[in-house]
C-alpha cells in the first residue's frame, strides 16, 4: 500500500537525520542553551512525525509526536534541557531507529511496544509544565516582537535618541531619516529567529546537492581507472612519435585525465565526521555503563576519506574507544586520589599528513603498565621470557597487538575477551593502514592509526619472476637490494636449508618467489640477484625475484571465484600494455613461505607438504585429550581461542554439528570421529552418552578466513617443548607421533582434518 519509492526516500533521509540527532542531543546535554541545535532536533522530529503520519505509520507518529511536544516546550524556553530529558530523547531515537529497521525489513512498524516510552516523555513534559512558573523565562523575543509591531511610533524617540546629534547637523534632512533610524534598531532585535536563517541555508544546500547511487560512483571510478590506463598506453605510444599536433593532443588528454581522476576520486570522498559523529553517543553510553566520567572531544571531522574506507574504520575505532573508556580512563575515585580531575578526557583527532589520514585517539587515563603487558604476554605464551627480557618499553607496548592478548583482569561486557587490538590491527592493515601506540607511564594512551586516502588506485612495484610479471603494493615495500653474482654467492647463507641474508648485520629470511609459485626457475647463476625487502606483520623478509621493472599506478581488481582460494594473490590489474598482471598479497606470501605463522595456502593443485621437522622443533603446543582417549597435540599458533559451549547450544546443520559463535556459524569437528572416518573405520568413542558434563570443550581453530571448532574431551596443558623423539604416523590426519611430557602424543594435521570435515560447508559458502 505504501509507495516504495517514497518510503525508500523517507528511510534514507531519516537514517541520516537520526545520526545527526544523536550528536545534537549530546551537544544539548552539555550545553542546554544551544538554540540552533534545539531547533534542529525539533525540525527533524517534526518531519519524521509528519512523514510518518502521511504514510500511516501510527506508532512512529505517536512516538515522534510526544517527543516533539516535549521539545516544543524546551524550545519555547518553558523548560530546560537536562540529562534525564537527554536519556529519554535518545531512547526515542533508538525506538525510531528500531521501527525504521523493521519497516525496511518487512514494511511494518514491528511489534515493539513504545507506550512506556511515550508515557515517560509525556511525564517529563508535564513535570516541566508544572514547574514552569518557577522558571522565569517567558519568551523575551516574542515580547519585543509585539512591542515593535504595536507601537513603532512610541519606540521611535527611544530609537532615535542615540543618533540625536545627527539631525542637528543636517536639519533640512531631518524628516526622512528618523523612521529609518527607528526601524533598523528594532529590526535587528526581531528579525533573527534562528530557524529562518538556518532554514534558508538548508534549502540552499538541498538545491546544490543531489543524491547519487554509490554503485554509480563505483562504476565511474572503475571507468576512470580504465581511462588512466588507456592514457598511459597512449603516452607510451606517443613517446615514439614526433608529430607536434599529436603530441599536443596527448598532452591535453594527459592533463584532463589526471584532473578527471582527481575529481571523481573526490566524489567518493566523505568527511570522516560521518563516522566520528556516532562517537559522542557511544562514549556517553559506555561511560555511563562503566561508571566513569568522560569528556569527549573531537577535532577534524571535515577530514575527507574514501567512502569504502570510512566504513572500514568504524569498527576498529569503536574498539579503540571502548578500550580507552573501559581500561584506560580510571574510575572517578581513583582519578581523584591520583590528583587528576574526576572527569576523564578522551580526544579523537583526524587530520591529513603526507597523503594519509591520521586518526589519533588519546585518553588521559592510567596509561599502559608495560610490566603487566609483559606478564600477560608471558602467561599467554605469546613471547618467550628471553625475548621479553630484551624488549624496550615501546616493543612491549606493541605486544598488545598480538592475537590473544588482553590486559583486562576481568572480562566486562565491552572488552577484555582476548580478541582485541589484534583485530583492530588486522582490520586497519587490511585497508593498507597502520596502527601504533604511545603511552608515557601514567599519562594516558594514544593510539594512532594511519589510513590511506583511497584504495582504488595504488602504487605498485612491477617485478618479473619465471617469465611473468607481478605487481607488489608499495605499502609493504621497505627497500631493494641488488647483489652481483659474486656477492650473491657469498651473501645468501643457509641455516638448515633455510636461506638468509645479512642485511646490515641482521639476518633476513629469504623467500624465492619462483619457488613459492612453483614456476620454472629461469635465474642463472651468473645473474644479479634482486632482493625486495618486504614487511609482513612487522616482520621483514627478502623476496628474490628475477628482475625489477618499474613502479606503476594500478587498479587492483578482485580475482574471480575460481581463483579466490589462492592466498598469495591479492587480485589482478591491467597494466599499461593492456596485459593482465597478478598482484601479490605480501601477507599471504609470507604465510605460505612460513615467514609468519599461518595456515599453508589452501590452493587447489598445490602439493601437500607435511610440516617440516625444523618448523615444529621448540614450538608451543596445545595438549588435549580427544574423546576416544589418548593424548594429542597441535601448534598453539593455530589456536584462536579455547571455549566451552553448553551442550544444548550445539545445533545440527545437515550431518554436521555447528554452534553460533560471535555472530557466525562455527562448524564443529569431533577430532576422534573425524580421524576415525579419515582412516575409514567407525569411531570407537569411549565417551559415555550419559556424560555428566553438560559443556563441550572446543578448540577454536582459525587460519585466514577459515574457522572451525575442534571438539575435544578436555584440554590438558600448554607446553613449550622441543619434540625430540618422533615416529611416523600410523593413520591419516596425524602428522607424526612423539613423546611429550612422557606420554605418546599424536600431532594432528589440523588443516587437513578441518578441510576434510568442512568441505561440504565450504562449498556451500563459496
Amino acid at each position: 500500500m505504501l509507495n516504495n519509492e517514497i518510503l525508500r526516500e523517507f528511510l534514507l533521509e531519516t537514517h541520516e537525520n537520526l545520526a545527526l540527532l544523536d550528536s545534537d542531543l549530546i551537544t544539548l546535554e552539555k550545553n542546554p542553551t544551544e538554540k540552533n541545535t534545539l531547533a534542529q532536533v525539533f525540525r527533524t522530529l517534526h518531519s519524521v512525525k509528519g512523514t510518518a503520519g502521511f504514510m500511516g505509520l501510527v506508532k512512529l507518529e505517536s512516538v515522534a509526536h510526544s517527543a516533539e511536544s516535549l521539545l516544543s516546550k524546551l524550545r519555547a524556553g518553558e523548560m530546560r534541557f537536562n540529562p534525564t530529558i537527554a536519556t529519554a530523547m535518545l531512547q526515542v531515537v533508538d525506538a525510531i531507529r528500531e521501527m525504521l529497521a523493521s519497516i525496511e525489513a518487512s514494511g511494518e512498524e514491528g511489534t515493539g511496544d513504545y507506550s512506556a516510552l511515550t508515557a515517560e516523555v509525556d511525564r517529563l513534559r508535564e513535570a516541566g509544565e508544572n514547574e514552569a512558573p518557577t522558571v522565569p523565562s517567558p519568551a523575551p523575543a516574542q515580547v519585543v516582537e509585539q512591542r515593535v509591531a504595536e507601537q513603532p511610533v512610541v519606540e521611535h524617540p527611544a530609537g532615535a535618541a542615540p543618533i540625536a546629534p545627527q539631525p542637528s547637523v543636517v536639519p533640512v534632512m531631518a524628516p526622512p531619516p528618523p523612521p529609518v533610524a527607528a526601524h533598523s534598531p528594532a529590526e535587528t532585535i526581531v528579525i533573527p529567529p534562528p530557524e529562518t536563517a538556518t532554514e534558508t541555508k538548508a534549502a540552499n544546500v538541498a538545491d546544490s546537492n543531489i543524491r547519487v547511487d554509490v554503485g554509480l560512483l563505483d562504476k565511474l571510478m572503475t571507468l576512470v581507472g580504465e581511462l588512466v590506463l588507456a592514457r598511459n598506453q597512449i603516452l607510451q605510444y606517443s613517446a615514439s612519435h614526433e608529430d607536434d599536433a599529436f603530441l599536443g593532443a596527448v598532452q591535453r588528454l594527459n592533463l584532463l585525465t589526471t584532473e578527471l581522476q582527481a575529481s571523481v576520486m573526490k566524489t567518493r570522498m566523505q568527511p570522516i565526521g560521518n563516522v566520528l559523529n556516532k562517537f559522542p553517543r557511544i562514549v556517553r553510553d559506555l561511560a555511563l555503563a562503566c561508571g566513569k566520567k568522560v569528556r569527549f572531544e573531537m577535532d577534524g571531522q571535515d577530514t575527507e576519506l574514501d567512502k569504502t574506507l570510512i566504513e572500514a574504520i568504524r569498527d576498529p575505532l569503536t574498539h579503540i574507544v571502548r578500550n580507552a573508556i573501559d581500561h584506560g580512563i580510571e574510575p572517578p575515585e581513583t582519578r581523584k586520589s591520583r590528583g587528576k580531575p574526576e572527569e576523564g578526557r578522551l580526544r579523537m583527532v583526524a587530520y591529513h599528513e603526507g597523503g594519509k589520514v591520521i586518526i589519533e585517539i588519546s585518553d588521559d587515563g592510567g596509561g599502559i603498565d608495560e610490566a603487566r603487558v609483559r606478564d600477560k604476554a608471558l602467561s599467554a605464551k605469546l613471547v618467550s621470557p628471553e625475548v621479553a627480557a630484551g624488549m624496550s618499553r615501546q616493543e612491549l607496548l606493541r605486544l598488545i597487538f598480538l592475537p590473544g592478548f588482553s590486559t583486562a583482569d576481568r572480562v566486562t561486557q565491552f572488552s577484555g575477551r582476548g580478541v582485541g587490538m589484534d583485530v583492530v590491527r588486522t582490520n586497519i592493515e587490511r585497508i593498507g593502514g597502520a596502527v601504533d601506540i604511545e603511552s608515557p607511564p601514567g599519562q594516558g594512551t594514544t593510539i594512532r592509526t594511519k589510513i590511506p586516502l583511497t584504495l582504488a588506485i595504488i602504487p605498485a612495484l612491477i617485478i618479473v619472476s619465471g617469465g611473468q610479471r607481478y605487481a607488489i603494493p608499495q605499502v609493504s615495500l621497505l627497500e631493494l637490494v641488488r647483489l652481483d653474482p659474486q656477492q650473491a654467492l657469498r651473501g645468501i647463507e643457509r641455516i638448515q636449508g633455510a636461506p638468509v641474508y645479512r642485511l646490515r648485520g641482521t639476518l633476513l629470511p629469504m623467500v624465492f618467489l619462483d619457488e613459492q609459485l612453483q614456476l620454472a626457475v629461469t635465474r642463472g647463476a651468473t645473474d644479479d640477484l634482486n632482493i625486495i625487502v618486504l614487511q609482513a606483520d612487522d616482520r621483514p623478509f627478502g623476496l628474490i625475484v628475477d628482475a625489477i621493472r618499474d613502479t606503476e599506478e594500478i587498479v587492483v581488481k578482485p580475482l574471480q571465484q575460481q581463483l579466490k582460494g589462492i592466498s598469495v594473490f591479492a587480485g589482478a590489474a591491467i597494466m599499461g600494455d593492456g596485459r593482465v598482471a597478478l598482484v601479490l598479497d605480501v601477507l599471504g606470501l609470507a604465510q605460505r613461505a612460513s615467514v609468519i605463522p599461518g595456515l599453508k595456502s589452501r590452493a587447489v593443485g598445490e602439493r601437500e607438504r607435511p610440516a617440516a621437522p625444523a618448523e615444529s622443533a621448540g614450538q608451543t603446543l596445545l595438549l588435549f585429550a580427544p574423546s576416544a582417549g589418548g593424548q594429542m597435540a597441535m601448534p598453539l599458533s593455530l589456536v584462536a581461542r579455547l571455549e566451552e559451549f553448553p551442550r544444548s547450544s550445539l545445533e545440527n546443520l545437515g550431518a554436521r554439528q555447528v554452534v553460533q559463535y560471535r555472530g557466525e556459524i562455527l562448524p564443529l569437528v569431533d577430532v576422534s570421529r573425524e580421524l576415525a572416518s579419515l582412516g575409514g573405520h567407525a569411531c570407537a568413542t569411549k565417551r559415555h552418552e550419559d556424560d555428566a558434563s553438560d559443556t563441550v570443550s572446543v578448540v577454536v581453530y582459525a587460519a585466514g578466513e577459515q574457522r572451525a571448532g575442534l571438539i575435544v574431551d578436555r584440554i590438558l596443558d600448554i607446553v613449550h617443548d622441543q619434540v625430540a623423539t618422533r615416529a611416523r604416523a600410523n593413520r591419516p590426519g596425524v602428522l607424526f607421533t612423539a613423546i611429550v611430557q612422557e606420554k605418546v602424543t599424536e600431532f594432528i594435521d589440523v588443516a587437513a582434518l578441518v578441510r576434510a570435515a568442512t568441505t561440504d560447508l565450504l562449498q556451500a559458502t563459496t
Binding site: E226, A573, V580, S601, E606
Partner: protein, 146 residues
Amino acid sequence: MTDSHQYCTFYLGDQCFGLDVLRVQEIVRYQPLTLVPLAHPMIRGLINLRGQIVTAIDLRERLGLPPRLEELEPVNVVVQTDEGAVSLLVDEIGDVLEVTEEQFERPPETLQGTARDLIQGVYKLADRLLVILEPEQVLSLPTART
C-alpha cells in the same frame, strides 16, 4: 515454435559442442594469457576483456580431452555468470544453430566419467551430433583434493 532452442556451437577436435546462446556473451579471438601459478590446472590464465579481468578455463582440460596442439590458438567463448564473465577456451567456433525438441536425446548410459555431469544431452543433427553442455557444471570447478 515453442520447442526450439538456439545454441552457440564450437569444436574441440572433431566434436561439436553447444551452449545456450543466451548464456554466451561474446566470442573473442585468442588473447595473450596471464598464467596463474598455483591455480587449478583447468585454469589457463587471465585475459583482459575491455578492462574486465576474465578467468579463462580450458574446456579440453575440463572435459578430460587431450591437450590442444601447441600451434592452435584457442578461441574465447565468454560466458556470463553471476560473478562476471568467464571464458571457455575452445579450438574453433561454429554457427549459432536452431534445433527443435524432437532432435533431443539424453546422453547414453555408456557415457561415463567427469564428462557425464557436464552434458545436458545431445541433438541429432543431419550430419553430426551436437553435444549440449551444462554451463553451471562446466564453470564450477571440482575440488581436486578430497
